[in-house]
Subunit: 276 residues, 2 copies
């Protein structure tokens, strides 16, 4: 089976440098790469862009902007400036999409944080359009509503994308954050119909999960109904990459080439199972 | 300030035996007690009932039934039998409510688990009615959707209570599980209007939370908008106990009398703040 439609997030193989990740992904036949900020810090965006363009990998997204809310207006302005810089970096590495982890401020209501997120996105939008980089609102699991994101369901992300109503703003569907939501099918259909389903992230929910952040599983090893969600995403007209984004202390401790073999195997099994 | 409307869950002061909990709660002036199963295991339900009736404490609920879903029909029947026994125990200790942690089966879709939950509740309902013990469906945070509960929003709990449509079936609102939900206000109003808001649990969400289960906070120490939610619950007509349910390895390591002092202080501050 071809891995043309498979994309890996550099964070998934965190112990590797960007250059190691590029080499190994290419050798494995992986089609795309989503680049995390930490992966280009050492060499800078320009050099990373040259290296990525020289590779055969498609740059799918740059991860991650956002974190707009704060009780201090100065901090909110700083976040806007930071996001403009991240958009510059996204353009420099050739990424057509900046993924937004929107942020939350525990000292204020979630509704207030959501207003600040929308204001922040609208403030950076002209810059995004000028660069031709789209913005993807990624709803995060409700267990991250304290600090990481005040947008916790696909319904809320769709609401925000529709309120902003701009062809450079859409949503990112990540099965890890959304699998439990009884409204998921209808909300995937909604963003597909609106043409703003920009990216699709896959992994699995480990049973039992022992850490709130760093205990994600590979597809097929957990309890997420992946075939079902994949079908909804395809029925919604999405034809982009399937992006594997796994944070896992356990897997980062493994030999990363061995882990990459497990990832491509898990991806193939997942596609095969979904096609049955 | 009186503590008449304050109820403590025995699990909150887990290191104490039931008798120690009763004595200390009474001395502190606490009005109610919600009894966990583990607290009566040593002495049995009948003896626990005698001890509770001899105390001045109001028995608010028995915790916890549920865990209905399974891929095996035999295990589902076992869960129904277990819940009937738990209802007997609830009646024996004088609890008017059995709280249901509904359960989830990671090997099947959440929708299937929800069907099995409803079937399970309907199967024990005649026994509950006969005993005069009500059943409270407690929606659990989506981070527990793998094994603990396929009911993860108050909207879903309300749907199920309305589908069953029986005066002995209602819902339990716990701020820890529900605070992030953008539909919370309207769903609290909905169960209040329907007359099936049976219980109200309070605590707080620690920032950052380091454990998925045992890292709850005392009211006022976390990021949950408690005054806001309390107002919604009161506006919905709820006049019952405010039940403090905290699982916390950190607090269980403290001297429990010192912890109890912290709880009553946190409760008083919470009520005072909400009244401003």
């Amino acid at each position: 089976m071809t891995l043309d439609q498979l994309c890996l997030h550099t964070i998934t193989t965190k112990p590797w440098s960007l250059e190691e990740a590029i080499d190994h992904y290419q050798s494995a036949g992986v089609g795309g790469i989503s680049v995390w900020q930490n992966a280009i810090e050492a060499m800078g965006a320009e050099a990373a862009g040259r290296r990525l363009r020289a590779s055969g990998l498609d740059v799918v997204s740059y991860v991650r902007g956002g974190f707009f809310p704060s009780v201090e207006s100065k901090a909110r302005q700083q976040a806007i400036d930071d996001n403009k810089r991240l958009l510059d970096e996204a353009a420099a590495i050739g990424a057509p999409l900046l993924v937004l982890v929107c942020g939350a401020e525990p000292r204020q209501p979630l509704s207030e944080s959501r207003k600040q997120i929308q204001t922040g996105i609208e403030a950076v939008l002209p810059h995004a359009k000028e660069l031709g980089v789209r913005l993807g609102i990624e709803p995060l699991h409700p267990m991250y509503a304290d600090t990481r994101s005040a947008v916790n369901t696909l319904g809320q992300a769709n609401d925000m994308a529709e309120a902003i109503d701009h062809d450079h703003v859409g949503v990112v569907v990540d099965v890890y954050h959304l699998w439990w939501d009884p409204e998921l099918e209808q909300q995937i259909r909604r963003c597909g119909t609106a043409g703003h389903l920009f990216a699709y992230h896959i992994c699995d929910w480990r049973v039992p999960t022992t850490d709130l952040l760093l205990d994600r599983e590979l597809m097929g090893e957990g309890c997420i109904p992946l075939s079902q969600i994949r079908q909804w995403v395809r029925d919604a007209g999405f034809q982009g990459y399937e992006e594997v984004e796994v944070f896992s202390s356990r897997y980062w401790e493994m030999d990363q080439q061995e882990f990459l073999n497990k990832i491509t195997k898990a991806y193939q099994d997942y596609v095969h199972k979904a096609k049955r």
